[in-house]
C-alpha cells in the first residue's frame, strides 16, 4: 500500500533546529504515547512514513536515539518489512495487486506492459519523480480483481487500457484532472 500522503523530497535535513518541522511533532507524539518504549519502534516508523512519505536516514537516527534502540535495529526493521520504504515516493503512486485472484485474472501481463511503458521496475520511481510503481501482495479486494491503488484510491476490474490511460494522465501536464477517461471507463466497468 502507499503512504497516505506523498510528500515532496526533502531538500534539507528536517531535523535542523532552526526550522523545526511540524511533522516531527506527529512522530514525537507517537513515541510519547508508547512511553518511549523500544517496542514502539514499528509504530513509530509507521508514523514517520505517514508524515514524511518514506524513512529518511536522519529520522531513523532520531527515532533510534529517542527510543534508545541501536540504529542497526531500526535499519533492520525498516528493511525487513515490505511496507517501509527508504526512498522518497514519486508525485503519484501506482500500486498493482499481485494477489492470487489478480494474478489469475491477468495482472502479470498488465504489470509487464506498465514496467515497459514507464521504464522502471516495481519499487522504483521514474527519473522525473512523477510516478512510483509498486506491487501489493494482496489488497483484499479479490472480488474486483485485477485491482490496484492509484494515489490511495482502490480501483477494481483493471484492464491494460485503464491503467495506461491513468498513468498517461499523470504524466501529462493536466495530471490533476481527476475525471480522466480511465476514471470514467472504470466506473462503467464496475457496473
Amino acid at each position: 500500500m502507499t503512504p497516505a500522503t506523498a510528500s515532496p523530497a526533502l531538500s534539507s535535513p528536517s531535523l535542523s533546529p532552526a526550522t523545526p518541522d511540524k511533522r516531527l511533532r506527529i512522530i514525537d507524539r507517537t513515541m510519547r504515547l508508547h512511553g518511549y518504549a523500544s517496542h514502539a519502534l514499528i509504530e513509530t516508523l509507521h508514523a514517520v512514513q505517514e508524515a514524511f512519505g518514506y524513512l529518511e536516514p536522519d529520522l531513523m537516527r532520531y527515532v533510534a536515539g529517542r527510543l534508545k534502540v541501536p540504529l542497526s535495529r531500526v535499519y533492520a526493521v525498516a528493511t525487513f518489512y515490505h511496507f517501509f520504504t527508504l526512498k522518497p515516493p514519486g508525485e503519484h503512486t501506482c500500486v498493482l495487486c499481485k494477489g492470487t485472484a489478480c494474478y489469475i485474472s491477468g495482472t502479470a501481463e498488465i504489470f509487464r506492459k506498465v514496467e515497459e511503458m514507464l521504464g522502471i521496475h516495481a519499487g522504483e520511481t521514474t527519473a522525473d519523480g512523477k510516478i512510483s510503481l509498486m506491487t501489493a501482495r494482496c489488497l483484499g479486494a479479490c472480488g474486483l480483481a485485477p485491482a490496484g491503488v492509484f494515489d490511495g484510491t482502490v480501483v477494481g476490474n483493471l484492464t491494460l487500457d485503464t491503467v495506461v490511460n491513468k498513468l498517461q494522465a499523470w504524466r501529462s501536464h493536466d495530471a490533476d484532472h481527476r475525471e480522466s477517461a480511465g476514471d470514467r471507463e472504470n466506473r462503467n466497468r464496475c457496473r
Partner: protein, 551 residues
C-alpha cells in the same frame, strides 16, 4: 459510571426505535469492495435525493458492512421491502427513491431467492450488511455485548471455557487447533500477567474474510477478545492488523474508542472486578508475521522472525507471558457461542469440524464475494450453486484453498465435503478461507511457480531449508515454465519439497511446498508436457514463443 445491563438494553431500544421510526431503511454497503466502486458517492446521492424529494422523515440511509456479493457492487439493500439492488450508480438515486412506494427498479434488481443468499448460514457474518460498523449503538441493538455481560456476571471463567470447548470450535486461522484447548492452556498458566492477541494479519493472497469482518462488524471481535480475556485471566489485548487494510484499521480504532467510552472496555466492566484494554498494532507487510511467534516478535517491535516451538505462546508468549492468540474469525464466533451455548454451535457442521466457515470466493467464478456456509458443504455447492459457476462458458479446473500453504483441489473431489480433515486428505488445507477458482485457462505449473515466488520472497531468512529451499524450488519451476526443464527436474522438485517441508523451522517453510506437491499430485501430466514437449496446454507459459523468437 459503570455500565449496567439496563443501560445496554436502553441503548438497544433507543437505537431500534430510531431506526424503525423511518418507513424505509436504505442500507448501502460501505466495505472496501463496494467503496472502490464508489458506494460512498452512491450513498451521498441517495441522501441528496431524499432531501430533494422531501422524504427525510420516511427514509433513512445507513452505511453498513459487506453485503457479500462483491462481484456486482455497489450493493444497496432496502428494508422492509426486502429489495437488493446491484451495481447502483449515483445517477440511479432519483429512480430508486421514487420507486419506494411502487414497483422496484427492475433493471437493478438482484433476485433475492438466488442460491448465493439462500444457501448460506450466517453466524460470523450475521451482522454484516445489517448493522452500521461505525456506531456501537447499532451493534448493541443487534444484541451486542450481551454475551460479555452474560460471561462476566453469570459465568465463571471455567464455565466460559467449557462452553467454548463444548462448541468444538477450531482455530479459523488455518491450522484448526481446538480453541477450547488453547484457552485452557492459557487459563492454567500461573503467571499474573497474560495477554490476548487477535491475529488480523491476513496475509494469504486471495483471502479477505478477516478484512470484511473487521470492516463490517469490528465490535464483535472486540467483544470476543474481552470474553477471551475474562476466560483466560488476561487484562490486556492486542489486535495485530495489516497496515494494508486502512479502512479496517480506521474502523477498529473508532470501535475501540467507542467501547472504552461506553465502558465495555476499561476498568470494572459491568460492575465486576474485570478490566480489559485493547491496543492496536499495525503490521508492516510481512507474511511470516501471521505465524504466532513471529507475530509476537513484531508486536514487541522486533523483526518478525519465528522461533522454535515449544515453548508455545500459550505458555511463553508476548514479553514472556502466557498469550492467547486467536484469529479474527475464531474470536468472532465467541459471542454467539456464549449467547446460545456450545451445544448449539456443535450441532452445526460435521463430526470433527463444527460451526460454519467464511470463505472468500475469487478468481474465475461468477459470484465473487464473501460467503459463510456450514462445515461439510460440498465444493460443488460452493462453486456452482452459491458461486454461480465459471464465467464465459469455461471449464472448472481446480480450486485453490489455503493460499501459499494450501493446495489445489481438482475436479474429481468436487463432491467432497469441505472441512479441516477432508481437505487435508486431498493435500490442501482449510487455511484461513480464501478460495480461488481456476478455469482451464490456468496453467498449474505457473500457479505453483506463483506461490513459490511468494514464499521465496516472504521467507524471513532465518532457517536455511526455507531460505535456500524455496529459492531452489522457484528456480526449477522457472526453468520448467520457460521450457528449459528436464525430466530429472521433476524428481528434484519432489525431493526438495519433502526436504523443505520436513526441516523448516516454522509453518511458512513447512507448508511452502504444498502448492507444488498438490499440483504434482493431480496435474503431473502438465509438468511432463512442459518438460517433454515444451508445451503449455493453457497457453500461459511463454516458452513456445521464446523458442520461436530465438530460432
Amino acid at each position: 459510571m459503570t455500565l449496567t445491563i439496563e443501560n445496554l438494553q436502553e441503548i438497544a431500544k433507543t437505537e431500534t426505535d430510531a431506526v424503525e421510526s423511518y418507513r424505509y431503511r436504505i442500507n448501502v454497503c460501505m466495505a472496501a469492495g463496494c467503496l472502490s466502486c464508489r458506494s460512498d458517492v452512491v450513498k451521498a446521492s441517495l441522501e441528496e435525493e431524499i432531501r430533494r424529494q422531501g422524504k427525510e422523515k420516511a427514509c433513512l440511509v445507513r452505511g453498513v458492512g459487506c453485503l457479500g456479493l462483491c462481484a456486482v457492487g455497489p450493493l444497496i439493500d432496502i428494508s422492509p421491502l426486502n429489495v437488493t439492488y446491484q451495481a447502483v450508480q449515483p445517477s440511479d438515486a432519483p429512480e430508486i427513491i421514487g420507486s419506494l412506494t411502487g414497483a422496484p427498479v427492475s433493471r437493478l434488481l438482484l433476485p433475492a431467492d438466488q442460491p448465493f443468499f439462500s444457501r448460506q448460514k450466517k453466524i460470523v457474518l450475521e451482522n454484516c450488511g445489517i448493522i452500521e460498523p461505525e456506531r456501537i449503538e447499532s451493534y448493541i441493538a443487534a444484541g451486542g455485548y450481551e454475551a460479555l455481560y452474560q460471561a462476566l456476571r453469570q459465568m465463571s471463567p471455567r464455565q466460559v471455557i467449557d462452553e467454548v470447548t463444548a462448541s468444538g470450535l477450531r482455530g479459523r486461522g488455518g491450522a484448526g487447533f481446538p480453541t477450547g484447548l488453547k484457552w485452557t492452556t492459557v487459563y492454567k498458566a500461573r503467571q499474573a500477567v497474560k495477554y490476548v492477541v487477535c491475529n488480523a494479519d491476513e496475509g494469504d493472497p486471495g483471502a479477505f474474510m478477516d478484512r470484511s469482518v473487521l470492516e463490517s462488524d469490528p465490535h464483535r471481535v472486540i467483544e470476543g477478545m474481552a470474553i477471551a480475556g475474562y476466560a483466560v485471566g488476561a487484562s490486556r489485548g492486542y489486535i495485530y492488523v495489516r497496515a494494508e487494510y486502512p479502512l479496517a484499521v480506521e474502523r477498529l480504532r473508532r470501535a475501540i474508542k467507542q467501547a472504552k467510552r461506553l465502558g465495555v472496555l476499561g476498568e470494572n466492566i459491568f460492575n465486576t472486578p474485570f478490566a480489559f484494554d485493547i491496543q492496536l498494532r499495525l503490521g508492516a507487510g510481512a507474511f511470516v508475521c501471521g505465524e504466532e511467534t513471529a507475530l509476537i516478535a513484531s508486536i514487541e517491535g522486533r523483526l518478525g522472525r519465528p522461533r522454535p516451538r515449544p515453548p508455545f505462546p500459550a505458555e511463553f508468549g508476548l514479553w514472556g507471558c502466557p498469550t492467547l492468540i486467536n484469529n479474527v474469525e475464531t474470536l468472532a464466533n465467541i459471542a454467539p457461542i456464549v449467547r446460545r451455548g456450545g451445544g448449539w454451535f456443535a450441532g452445526i457442521g460435521t463430526e470433527k469440524s463444527k460451526g460454519t466457515k467464511v470463505f472468500a470466493l475469487a478468481g474465475k467464478i461468477n459470484n465473487t464475494g464473501l460467503i459463510e456456509v456450514p462445515m461439510g458443504t460440498t465444493l460443488r455447492e460452493i462453486v456452482f450453486d452459491i458461486g454461480g459457476g465459471i464465467p464465459a462458458g469455461r471449464r472448472f479446473k481446480a480450486v485453490q484453498t489455503g493460499g501459499p500453504s494450501g493446495g489445489c483441489v481438482p475436479e474429481q473431489f468436487l463432491d467432497m465435503p469441505v472441512d479441516y480433515d477432508s481437505l487435508r486428505e486431498v493435500g490442501a488445507i482449510m487455511g484461513s478461507g480464501g478460495m480461488i477458482v481456476m478455469d482451464d485457462g490456468a496453467c498449474m505449473v505457473d500457479v505453483a511457480k506463483f506461490f513459490m515466488e511468494f514464499c521465496m520472497s516472504e521467507s524471513c531468512g532465518k532457517c536455511a531449508p526455507c531460505r535456500v529451499g524455496t529459492t531452489q524450488l522457484f528456480g526449477i519451476l522457472e526453468r520448467i515454465t520457460a521450457g528449459d526443464g528436464s525430466i530429472e527436474d521433476i524428481d528434484t522438485l519432489k525431493e526438495l519439497c519433502d526436504l523443505v517441508g520436513a526441516t523448516s523451522l516454522c509453518g511458512l517453510g513447512q507448508t511452502a511446498p504444498n502448492p507444488v506437491k498438490s499440483t504434482l499430485r493431480y496435474f503431473e501430466n502438465e509438468y511432463t508436457a512442459h518438460v517433454r514437449r515444451h508445451h503449455c496446454e493453457a497457453g500461459v507459459c511463454a516458452m513456445g514463443k521464446a523458442r520461436e523468437a530465438t530460432t
